[in-house]
Symmetry: C2
Subunit: 358 residues, 2 copies
């Protein structure tokens, strides 16, 4: 059987195309008894030998002739091999399609197809060298085809972070700004033991070392009274030191830290995991501390991901049994933190990413 291109985007299989390829196998969009196929579907039918040619071309020639088809074909084939029916995300191509959807394919649950209204995954296809704006990771699955043509599926989800930690920090604890950290020499025990702020200088020592972001958060709430020698107001000196060290990133991190604490989640440094924070959803005391659940990387709202960096973060998080979360902070949020206020929820978008085996 042979197909003919009707447009750049549509290959028509005449005569019994519908019966052969749509009714039982879910390819294409019926056009009477004929069938319209997207190029990736046509390529798959050519590959399987179900179509003999498209515009007189065989599989190899057709794959070369259509720009960018190879990467989409590899993902389409992989999903078909795994037993899924898929449709291109185009109006009229499936009962379930939303014409505004920016995904490449809709994948149906096993046993379902384009005549059903249920969708299992919405798949975006990229090559490993294609960068992906954060805004495009909207709850779909990112299928990354690497340079050796292996496919990594990353499931994305927009979901806020919430916790149940309930700790009110004490007031006016004296502390000193010391380079890139703040030391509270004699804080109440609860600041560390219940609040999980800072890190004791020593097991046998009361002194508590706080990060700049912890100190800025506590100072803002009147919980910490920071001495900064010749630098005037201690709270301002902590903010200034943070910005000196990290630039705009400091305000983004403080925005995220503040939002997490305000929602009952305890953030601690994620340095050992290459992240900004690891988080604990419920801390009653440090002695009974559980496993941290999330790794959080803080990024500007307009961030564009390189798939390789995404793969690195998600793989690491998986290996330490945590979920990778990106906190995307828009500049309004930064300004709010810079002004000494706290950002409202909507200034941070929470993007969770996990490996998926479809």
């Amino acid at each position: 059987m042979e197909g003919q291109s009707r447009t750049d985007d549509i290959v028509r299989v005449p005569a019994n195309g519908r019966e052969q390829f749509y009714d039982s196998r879910g390819y294409g969009r019926p056009a009477g008894d004929a069938l319209d196929l997207a190029p990736v579907e046509a390529a798959h039918l050519l590959y399987r030998g179900d179509l003999d040619s498209v515009d007189g071309r065989g599989f190899r020639e057709y794959l070369s002739a259509v720009d960018g088809l190879a990467v989409r074909f590899l993902v389409y084939k992989d999903l078909r091999d795994r037993g899924f029916y898929c449709s291109p995300t185009r109006e009229g191509w499936s009962e379930a399609v939303d014409p505004d959807d920016t995904a490449d394919f809709l994948v149906y649950p096993r046993g379902k197809g384009p005549w059903d209204e249920v969708v299992e995954h919405r798949v975006h296809v990229v090559g490993e060298r294609t960068t992906v704006p954060a805004a495009e990771l909207d709850g779909g699955v990112l299928a990354v085809v690497d340079e050796e043509s292996e496919i990594t599926y990353l499931d994305t989800r927009r979901a806020a972070v919430e916790g149940d930690t309930d700790h009110e920090p004490p007031a006016g604890v004296a502390a000193t700004l010391l380079g890139d950290r703040v030391v509270a020499w004699d804080p109440p025990e609860s600041l560390y033991e219940q609040g999980f702020y800072g890190q004791p200088l020593d097991r046998d020592d009361d002194a508590l070392q706080l990060s700049l972001v912890e100190a800025a958060y506590l100072a803002e709430r009147g919980a910490l009274d920071v001495q900064a020698d010749d630098r005037g107001d201690g709270h301002a000196a902590v903010l200034a030191r943070g910005r000196e060290a990290e630039g705009g990133r400091f305000d983004r991190r403080l925005t995220v830290y503040t939002t997490l604490r305000d929602r009952g989640v305890v953030p601690k440094t994620g340095f050992k995991f290459g992240a900004d924070f690891r988080t604990y959803a419920e801390v009653e005391s440090v002695e009974e501390l559980g496993h941290s659940e999330l790794l959080v990387r803080v990024l500007p709202g307009g961030h564009t991901f390189a798939p390789r960096d995404l793969a690195l973060d998600v793989r690491l998080a998986h290996g330490v049994r945590k979920e990778m979360v990106f906190a995307l902070v828009d500049s309004q949020g930064e300004d709010a933190a810079a002004a000494g206020g706290t950002a409202d929820g909507p200034d941070i978008e929470w993007l969770r990413v996990q490996r998926l085996t479809p």
Copy 2:
């Protein structure tokens, strides 16, 4: 007992300083019966209460008064707590010191001290926000103090990568450039089965998908005959496509790929680990393939590391039981690859980094 600064860098403890702090505990450099201390040693003795003051200051004031002392103190204290004696890396301060050494501390094996000539570790101290030029990672230990004052030790080692794979690729295999990959439609089985080049399109299919870097390497050796349609010479088209996709990084990666293959090591994509390559030191056949041993990240020779990125790579490699290796390619190496030649060994510096618990 009290100390007095003699210079910015030296605190003198008069009288019996030598006997008290050097002879049995390895602090400082003897000056007759007196003892000269580096600021970090003085801070540690103040912290322990063994010194009462330096220039009239107690521990807290002294730590604040000396710029950048806090970070060095934290690492020095941690190493002392672990039972090591350490000296600053200064001439005359230890029998083992090399005056050109750029490390911050020499750490002696347990039970040894500055009067011995054996060194266990050479330690560079940095805060997590301090970037580190690759050239400074010269076989010592990098002690990174993170924002919450926890310390991560990273052991660095310059050591070439060698393997025992012995495979001669076949000649003149036909292949097609297809976007960001090259497909050999009917290659001899050995290209994949013994050489571990490429990735089969399907279990039941002869077609082999090659990455651009694999294809460039094979084409350079006459093993692959690439058709690139209207793009003229297939080998040149592969190089051009690689540079279009990755810029100068493509030539660096090709230099490293070529050097590894020439040394009997098989590199495959490290995408799933966020690296450039994972490598196998000995491949006889894909069927009997072992575990890959190394993760390789390719970087320009003048690269400067952010400790957090380093922590991420090393932690991930550790989690998947591989060693993290950075291949630092100088621009001469890039030029050699760009000219179609292969780079000599000396154009690549191999830097291996592992976590260390001292």
